[in-house]
Amino acid sequence: MEVSSLPISASHRAKLISAGYISISSLSSISPAHLARDLGISENEATGILKVASQRGGPERTIPSHHSIVDGAQTAWDMLHEEESCRRITTSCADLDDILGGGISCKEVTEIGGVPGIGKTQLGIQLAINVQIPLEYGGLAGKAVYIDTEGSFMVERVQQVAEACIKDMQEYDSFLRKDLPARQVNLQANDFLANIYYFRICSYTEQIAVINYLEKFISEHKDIKVVIVDSITFHFRQDFDDMALRTRLLGGMALKLMKLAKKFTLAVILLNQVTTKYSGGSFQLTLALGDSWSHACTNRIILYWNGNGRYAHIDKSPSIRSASAPYAVTGRGIRNLASNCKRVKLILRARLAHDEHICRSLI
């Protein structure tokens, strides 16, 4: 590996090259004092450079690491265990959960896009509530961060969805424990509201600032299990003359969000708008922000109208098969298109899946 690719300041790099240190291996066995003398810099600076170089060493390192052949790598087997122990956030719609393999997965970035009025914000609000469902009901007992760039977060609606969720939990309780005295669900809608951290963003600078700040925020507020950005597009859509800059900024944002998802094991949900694209001789709908952005997210779900119903289609996912499922937006939030009796079945299913998993992990 070359010294020119190290993330150090330009003047240090120039000094290294003019002193003859072109590859990183040439820095591997040198002392800071020696380097400082050679380059004419302070010993502290030399130590800094050597530290950066050793982090980038890669497979040329001669020091054997303890666990794995390449430091920092994880075996696929370990990752499989991790994935299975990761809970998923239910969407409250059984059909949608089915095609998603149980719900929105934590540790990944999921992009959800659709035409105006299809229910993106509704799904965002539903997930912000569902992440808070207590563990005994199959939820994650986590908190949510809601980053609102368009002002579509209506508090009254969040209250409605929270109240409906509590009713569902009570029904599930009475259904499952019909022989036992009814256990009161000790939650109020306001408790759900208190666990949603709301940021209102008014420009793309603020959007970048909040995503940079999230790392510190989430380490200070434990239990945050989902970050919802509604929508990622709005401020990047107009008054951007420099498209190359836009692509770079979006790429940077996507990387930071992926890092957040992985580091804190949370789900990142990005809501996107639609635009038109000319392909195959006609105009088609496609998600906004361009082709380079479409590579940035791990999973992509498109919400669309088909006939008289709303459907969700999994457009891109490394592990889930491409499929579509119908859903409905009701007074209680996102629900199945079918009748009411499925509602309780859905929560039961989540509970059984969790129990099944517990049994499996004990084997």
Binding site: Y197, D239, Q273, G307
Partner: protein, 361 residues
């Protein structure tokens, strides 16, 4: 927030000086460059740049609130937790109280359906004293098509609120609170918006009505045009609504649906897809395009079908898709039934343009 000066952020002197030397003065300048670019530009190590960027981000990030404190704040500070009641019972119930503050509400429909009538009534409602359910404030009415009729507005007032308007001088006071601006060119319109922003900060403006948005904008940004011609206005009006927490009502025109309008995605098999635009015997869509449709928070579609006029709640994050029948009378718009008809499917977004039988039924 974006224009916060780096010099005032309290960063360590050395790094602050380097930023200034490279002409990076505001948070916006700093955050528009990736960290790698900054190490190149400023000639400092990556670790230092990362620390500086995270401090800048933390300082320029707007403060957070829990959803609960948001709700409590609104219930405490604002009239009806942030809603302007329209006096149309069914509509107000569906909208959780009325036209919401802080977001754009759009009225779209074919010509002559009653959009301006609705706007006149809303202006009146906002100017009423709070004892009668009004916002007790001034209204700015931007009239781009010269449709504002003060005579009609007084007529609506006299017929809807006779007890107020019969008092000596009340009509003058109410009408005196409504300020009408009539720009005739897109440039004047932009200037109007700037003036509105300035006066919002000083006076008790409680409602902004723009009738109509489409009149002064050429084209609607479909397909080829990457930068929406309305882009600046959209974000400006949205932020105006947001920081002043007032309701903003905008009317929009319709245009005929051309064969180029896209309705499906690449993964949808166009054979299976029902050609639904033609099944609602209409060929009208809202003007101003998809980006505008994303920017508004509430969309009310007014249309007329088989002799009946409907007002439909096509896009609203807090209401189910319902339609109400309405009629226009001497006292403005009134609903014929307060129970809405729930509509399923994308039909709620369609605009039917069958002929209207005159303005007054």
């Amino acid at each position: 927030m974006a224009n916060k000066l780096i010099s005032e952020m309290g960063l360590p002197k050395s790094i602050a000086n380097i930023f200034a030397a490279r002409n990076i003065h505001t948070a916006k300048d700093a955050l528009s460059l990736t960290e790698f670019e900054l190490t190149e530009l400023l000639d400092v190590g990556l670790a230092e740049v990362t620390t500086a960027v995270s401090s800048i981000s933390e300082i320029s990030c707007p403060p957070y609130q829990t959803a609960l404190s948001l709700l409590e704040q609104r219930m405490h500070n604002e009239y009806l937790a942030g809603h302007l009641p329209t006096r149309l019972k069914g509509l107000d119930a569906a909208l959780c109280g009325g036209i919401p503050f802080g977001v754009i509400t759009e009225l779209v429909g074919p010509a002559g359906i009653g959009k301006t009538q609705f706007c006149l009534k809303l202006s009146l409602l906002a100017s009423l004293p709070s004892s009668h359910g009004g916002l007790d404030g001034h209204v700015i009415y931007v009239d781009t098509e010269s449709k504002f009729s003060s005579r009609r507005m007084i007529e609506i007032g006299v017929n809807s609120f006779p007890e107020i308007f019969q008092i000596e001088g009340m009509a003058q006071q109410m009408a005196g609170r409504i300020l009408v601006l009539q720009p005739t060119t897109p440039t004047e319109f932009s200037e109007c918006l700037q003036k509105i922003k300035d006066s919002l900060l000083q006076h008790h403006m409680k409602l902004l009505v723009i009738d109509s948005m489409a009149a002064l904008v050429s084209g609607d940004g479909q397909g080829q045009c990457r930068q929406h011609p309305l882009g600046w206005h959209m974000t400006f009006i949205k932020s105006l609504a947001e920081f002043s927490r007032i309701p903003v009502v905008v009317t929009n025109q319709v245009r005929s649906h051309s064969g180029d309008d896209p309705f499906h995605y690449s993964f949808q098999d166009s054979r299976q897809n029902l050609d639904f635009p033609t099944t609602f015997d209409s060929h009208l869509v809202a003007a101003l395009g998809i980006p505008w449709a994303h920017a508004v928070s509430i969309r009310l579609v007014l249309e007329s079908k088989s002799g009946q006029r409907f007002i439909k709640l096509a896009k609203s994050s807090m209401s189910p898709p319902v339609a109400f029948t309405f009629a226009i009378s001497a006292s403005g718009i009134s609903l014929l039934h307060d129970d809405g008809i729930e509509m399923t499917g994308p039909e709620i977004n369609g605009i039917c343009g069958q002929g209207n039988s005159g303005l007054f039924d």
